[in-house]
């Protein structure tokens, strides 16, 4: 039996340490991982827990991220709790197996410490890897700070392993901004954390030797479509209610409340910024300041990126006059993903909102308060004009000549 750790009520942890403790506390059976900046400390911390008797499960240091997720898939199919962590290039290397994991309906929790994808090579945070995963069939939860990186791990295990769901889940945190920035994190006791997620209940487990199972079959045009439709059905119908139920349970346990869409001063907002990750907190601070200047500003943080909370988002934004979608990934040839998602959410509604798109923060470039002030100022002009007063897509924080499209 692994030793427990008596945590203080508030620990000073960065996002990586928070995620490592969450993995330890839920008593993951197999962690198979490969280190990559900036997620490396998750794996190192976990190795330390293992070396000091705080982990009973297996810790497999593989030869690559592809190997790590391949081992995770084998381990999950065998029948137990499985988790790993990665970033960026490693995430890209894993992509093939991400589709396997979700298509095989295997609960696995992947901590993604978001980082840019080269070329040019870059170790800092942006959302390129998170966006790369968006069609992979995984649940994607997004945290904005170390506390949330910790809490959302428990939600991820609980939802992913639910027998009505059986889909893998990513917990995202921003590289360095969250992963390496220490803050006060309210903890759960080891016992409370484990009990919240509960004992792993296997299903179609290969290690049930009396009931052999075949995992990862071949289907062609006869059955592939139906399999993918079933997968989509589970993702679209089961997941959001389960996440909301888990959020409610978690609030009872911890007092911390999470929502599919995180609204800040949205009740009467005329202009709103929609974004993800650490930018949400900066945007909230600026929105508050904008209100002191008479601009009714609000912020919408995306908590659940997949499955996309379309109805919740449409309801949140229905009365807003001007919206900015902030994308921290280069869309390379079109509008940003958030712009697209928000457009799709609002298109068949009565909204008259003006929607514009800002590409920001690539490769770890800071999104400053001044940038956000200029975005809110643009939004105010759009709201007053009832049409875009700027290009639909602007690059913000870019050096040199301004760049905009559409």
């Amino acid at each position: 039996m692994a030793d427990t750790i008596e945590l203080r009520d508030i620990e000073v942890w960065d996002g990586n340490m928070a995620a490592s403790h969450a993995l330890r506390q839920v008593q993951v059976d197999v962690v198979a991982a490969y280190p990559i900046t900036p997620s490396t400390p998750i794996v190192e911390n976990y190795a330390g827990f293992t070396a000091n008797g705080y982990v009973d499960g297996e810790f497999v240091m593989t030869e690559s991220e592809h190997g790590a997720m391949s081992c995770c898939i084998g381990a999950a199919a065998a029948g137990g709790r499985v988790a790993t962590a990665t970033s960026s290039q490693g995430f890209a290397l894993m992509v093939e197996t991400l589709y396997s994991a979700s298509g095989m309906r295997l609960p696995i929790v992947l901590n993604v410490v978001n980082r840019a994808i080269g070329a040019p090579l870059n170790v800092n945070g942006d959302h390129s890897d998170m966006y790369m995963g968006r069609d992979s069939g995984w649940i994607q939860l997004d945290s904005y700070c170390p506390q949330e990186a910790y809490d959302l791990n428990f939600i991820a295990f609980k939802v992913s392993e639910d027998h009505d769901v059986r889909l893998p889940a990513m917990v995202h945190q921003d590289g360095f901004m969250t992963s390496h920035t220490a803050q006060g994190v309210h903890t759960l006791s080891d016992e409370a954390a484990y009990n919240f997620v509960g004992e792993y209940k296997p299903m179609n487990d290969m290690l049930d030797l009396d009931h052999p199972v075949t995992h990862g079959v071949q289907t062609e045009e006869d059955w592939h479509f139906e399999h993918k439709a079933r997968q989509q059905h589970a993702l679209m119908t089961a997941v959001l209610p389960k996440i909301e139920a888990a959020f409610a349970d978690f609030e009872k346990l911890s007092g911390r409340k999470y929502n599919l869409v995180e609204k800040y001063n949205m009740e009467d907002a005329e202009v709103a910024v929609v974004c993800m990750g650490t930018s949400v907190e900066t945007a909230r601070e600026v929105a508050l300041e904008m209100r002191q200047n008479g601009i009714k500003a609000g912020v919408v943080g995306i908590r659940v990126f997949r499955p996309w909370p379309l109805e919740q988002l449409a309801a949140t934004l229905k009365d807003v006059k001007a919206i900015a979608a902030l994308d921290r990934s280069s869309p390379h040839g079109t509008v940003g993903a958030l712009f697209n998602e928000i457009s799709g959410s609002l298109f068949n509604t009565d909204t008259k909102a003006v929607l514009t798109n800002y590409i920001y923060g690539l490769g770890g470039r800071d999104l400053t308060k001044a940038h956000l002030v200029s975005i809110f100022t643009d939004l105010k002009a759009n709201a007053d004009a009832g049409k875009p007063t700027t290009a639909l897509q602007q690059y913000i924080g870019l050096r040199g000549p301004k760049l905009s499209f559409f």
């Binding site: 197999v30 391949s70 999950a76 199919a77 093939e96 290969m206 990862g216 079959v217």
Partner: protein
């Protein structure tokens, strides 16, 4: 604990309980099914199996059917080894935690892959699994070509063979490179047991599989799998072609224990010329022309040299 089957003769073997069903889509005469049955029949223990993408995988698990009466997993082309390694890690974890459903039983973990999945695309994953020392067996079904996709060359394709990506033609004799020596590479990982087998020598094969199952740690089995479709011989000739391979020493049967101790396990009473092996297969047909027949002598010289090398290693016990 571990239970090895005792099979006296082929008749007994043929009526032995199957965990790999005859209901599969493999070509008539495919050696894969013979090898897989021999591997699975070598033990009465439970089996947890994996397959990389390839002939075996696409022919045995086409939804809604399965040919496997043991737990089986396929992920992709390159990672059958890691799939079974992950399952083995889970077995260890659940054993430690006392959560195994059948705690008294000790399953064996086996991954199958073709030579494409083994020598080429999956090599890194296999190397990782062996370096980490998972308690597993990796069986390469070596038919020296990407047979599942219609006969492209792999790094196991032997020199002079005509493959679709190295076709013989007016100015080319086909594959230009020697077959990669996976046996040496896997032995160099320090694996406790590495062996080359062929389905025609089934007693030798079963003995080696059982040695592999008895070993602690990762075991590599390189199984020659004569391919009626791509080697181009009649489906009923699979075993006779295999006999030509082993008796010409093109495919010598030997084992390497603990990465160093090499034993030859089959010495043909009458060694036949390599020419006879090559001549029996359509993939080498072009070698029997004035333009390319010098390659047959080169082939013979290479096989002789390898046999000499193996004998010297056995004699020196290294």
């Amino acid at each position: 604990m571990s239970e090895m089957k005792k099979i006296k003769n082929l008749k007994e073997f043929s009526t032995s309980a199957d965990r790999f069903e005859g209901a599969n889509l493999l070509c008539p005469g495919c050696a894969h099914s013979i090898i897989v049955r021999e591997v699975l029949n070598a033990t009465n223990d439970d089996l947890i199996l994996a397959a990389s993408t390839g002939c075996l995988e696409v022919c045995t698990a086409v939804y809604p059917y399965t040919s496997w009466d043991a737990s089986w997993i396929h992920i992709g082309f390159e990672n059958g080894s890691s799939a079974v390694a992950g399952a083995e890690a889970m077995y260890k974890a659940l054993k430690t935690k006392g959560r195994l459903k059948q705690p008294d039983r000790t399953p064996k973990f086996v991954a199958f892959g073709g030579d494409g999945a083994t020598y080429d695309i999956g090599f890194q994953w296999i190397s990782g699994c062996f370096e980490r020392g998972h308690n597993m067996m990796y069986v390469c079904l070596d038919n020296e070509v990407y047979a599942n996709t219609g006969g492209q060359r792999s790094s196991s394709t032997p020199i002079g063979a005509s493959a679709t990506t190295t076709p013989a033609g007016r100015v080319s004799y086909g594959e230009k490179r020697n077959k990669k020596d996976m046996m040496a590479i896997m032995a160099a990982h320090g694996a406790p047991y590495v062996a080359q087998v062929a389905p025609n020598k089934w007693k030798d094969m079963v003995a080696k599989i059982q040695k592999g199952f008895a070993a602690e740690g990762p075991v590599y089995i390189n199984a020659m799998s004569a391919c009626t479709t791509e080697w181009k011989f009649a489906p009923e000739d699979t075993i006779s072609i295999s006999d030509l391979a082993t008796d010409s020493l093109v495919f010598p049967l030997y084992e390497i224990i603990d990465g160093t101790k090499l034993n030859i396990t089959y010495r043909p009473k009458n060694i036949i010329p390599v020419r006879d092996y090559l001549g029996a297969q359509g993939r080498f047909k072009h070698l029997f022309t004035k333009q390319y027949e010098y390659l047959i002598d080169e082939w013979q010289a290479r096989v002789d040299a390898k046999w000499d090398y193996l004998q010297r290693r056995e004699e020196a016990s290294v």
